[in-house]
């Protein structure tokens, strides 16, 4: 079973617009991570937020975490065509070994 559920499944926007993706999970976590996957490629780590953090920024990325609602959001500001990819949230529980449980992902298309 998958821990994270992402919403929306697909998102289509114009360059310059902001893109927001949401992730919900079921059990308690140690941290939550967001990854990006370009078509036909492996996943690339974007950002990690710890369970005791509420917000984190990295360049044009902003991640929020609400542990009371078991949810997270990823905001990409001023999107570019190169941001077109699938985005996955993944949760790590306190069991250790950095094991991750992935959501099904959001497919983002940014049109020039």
């Amino acid at each position: 079973s998958q821990q994270g559920e992402e919403d929306p499944q697909a998102l289509s926007i114009q360059e310059g617009e902001n893109a927001t993706m949401n992730c919900s999970y079921k059990t308690s976590i140690n941290n939550l991570q967001w990854y990006r996957q370009n078509s036909g490629r492996g996943l690339v780590h974007l950002i990690l937020i710890r369970s005791n953090e509420r917000e984190k920024h990295s360049g044009r990325l902003r991640v929020t975490l609400d542990t009371s609602k078991k949810s997270s959001s990823l905001l990409i500001t001023a999107s570019r065509a190169a941001d077109t990819a699938s985005y996955f949230c993944a949760t790590a529980n306190s069991g250790g070994y950095n094991k991750l449980i992935f959501g099904a992902g959001t497919r983002l298309a940014v049109h020039p």
Partner: protein
């Protein structure tokens, strides 16, 4: 540094055949993982290893075996391939420096088709 590499990139098998997927990392990571990704889904953990000579089952281990004889290599074996094992397989590695707080580094994937 090459990071995480996987061989082969593509493979077509007939039902009942066996094969081994090889994953290699040059980052001296303790932890290594094998995932499968099916269309429209996220990654599911097959097996993982927390160090040389150790392996453990993940979420979907049935039909697969693994070995970690050397720290830098993690092998995934299919003894008798089935069409349900048609998937894209990803290997990943992670540091143990800050357990529970490290990112995973992924290989480019192996696309396997079982006829």
């Amino acid at each position: 540094n090459a990071g995480v590499t996987q061989t082969p990139k593509f493979r077509v098998l007939k039902t009942g055949q066996s094969m081994t997927l090889l994953c290699a990392q040059d980052m001296n990571h303790e932890y290594m993982y094998w995932y499968r990704q099916d269309p429209g889904m996220g990654l599911r953990l097959i097996h993982y290893s927390v160090g040389e000579g150790t392996t453990a089952k993940g979420e979907v281990p049935d039909g697969y075996n693994v070995s970690r004889l050397k720290k830098q290599n993690f092998l995934l074996g299919l003894e008798s391939a089935a069409p349900s094992q048609t998937s894209v397989y990803f290997c990943a590695s992670s540091s143990a420096l800050v357990p529970g707080l490290d990112e995973q580094f992924f290989g480019p994937g192996t696309r396997l088709t079982v006829l």
